[in-house]
Symmetry: C2
Subunit: 233 residues, 2 copies
């Protein structure tokens, strides 16, 4: 039986499998993307997403985690599969499919030196240059998924520092949705979700009065979900 199994697999084609990361960050009111200059041929010097081949003994998710760690220095980055790109002609003449994953990182957390060392840069989404291969499409698709997901899961918090103000949170959601939100209604809405803990500190970088800092209460959020709550922002 083992023989038959081997035989069954043996006639099939094998391919390269890669993973590409769409790394979103949020800074000064803008959604940003971490892209870098390719250092290998073909297309050396062109802008590209960060990615890697998946190794033989490695989970696809592990590969993404490895890449993200290499680039940002961070161990626990939020990431999630976006879509797999499997067109036969999508690569440089070698058959290679790529599992795209989008990641959300806190811009103040990551290791700037590491990022620079890899020739990576943060680009505002609007100013994004042309990327290699189908990476433009990957970004477009990932952004769509991010927007969709932001509506029913509190992923926005992954992009902010641990302590943040409500105006900051609003500005993030404005960047994600690409439209303005009413500050009074936004505040009302997020506070009604009961997943924010107000701190005694204020952030005074953007106003004389200062805005209270809040933290995301992951425990409350989980309890809410378990009780069948439909989280929505």
């Amino acid at each position: 039986m083992k023989e038959q199994a081997i035989d069954y697999y043996a006639h099939q084609a094998k391919m390269y499998v890669a993973t590409d990361c769409i790394v979103f960050g949020f800074d000064k009111g803008d959604l940003k993307l971490l892209i870098f200059k390719r250092r290998v041929d073909p297309d050396r010097g062109a802008w590209s997403l960060i990615g890697s081949f998946v190794e033989l003994e490695e989970d696809v998710d592990e590969a993404a985690r490895r890449v993200l760690k290499e680039i940002t220095g961070l161990d626990r980055v939020f990431f999630e599969q976006s879509k797999t790109y499997g067109k036969s002609g999508r690569d440089y003449g070698f058959r290679c499919i790529s599992v795209a994953q989008y990641a959300l990182i806190r811009v103040d957390d990551y290791d700037r030196e590491l990022v620079e060392k890899h020739g990576a840069f943060w680009y505002t989404l609007k100013d994004l240059p042309k990327l290699v291969l189908d990476h433009d499409t990957m970004v477009k698709d990932a952004l769509e998924k991010l927007r969709r997901k932001a509506q029913y899961q509190p992923i926005g918090f992954e992009l902010l520092p641990e302590k943040f103000t409500i105006p900051q949170l609003q500005s993030l959601y404005e960047a994600i949705y690409q439209r303005e939100l009413d500050p009074r209604n936004f505040r009302k809405k997020v506070l009604s979700l009961k997943v924010l803990r107000k701190l005694d500190e204020k952030d005074k970088t953007s106003s004389k009065r200062g805005a209270y800092l809040y933290m995301f209460e992951a425990d409350n959020y989980k309890k809410l979900l378990q009780s069948g709550y439909n989280f929505e922002i």
Copy 2:
């Protein structure tokens, strides 16, 4: 430069790439899944999703289309990527990643003989037997995506015959969401979306009075979307 490129790829691992289809159907008020008995070792005889290896010159999507055509006889089946399963140990000792795709078919359309010839059976989701490998997880995940998607895109119509009644449509959404809906509110809601065309025919299989048949107006729907409409059921 070409040499370098070849060199760059040459040291990387290659893997088997498969696609597995989660084929949903809707019949007599129940959501069903098309599964079949494996005909090859290992695990011959076990229940499994329908799938295939992706060939070297074949797009991943093409592979899914090919599988669906083989099994159902249908050319134009709605399908969409669900998720890629890439754990290193997920397969039978060979490294194989699988791109799962969920498909929606009209139970009255497909070719019954073809389905039987392949040893395939329709199972109600509740009665589903244990499936091979990680196929159980694939079904669970696909169902979640289907539910999510059904909320903002009219994919439900893919599962119904071309002409259907509003009670039928309701029963489908009840099966997808696994909860009862109020017939009066449901009717109000779907009609308000203005994507249904009422026909002069009635379907009398389920009541003496008979229910009017409707068709989905894809054109209206597209126009709505373009005008920034947020379709929701």
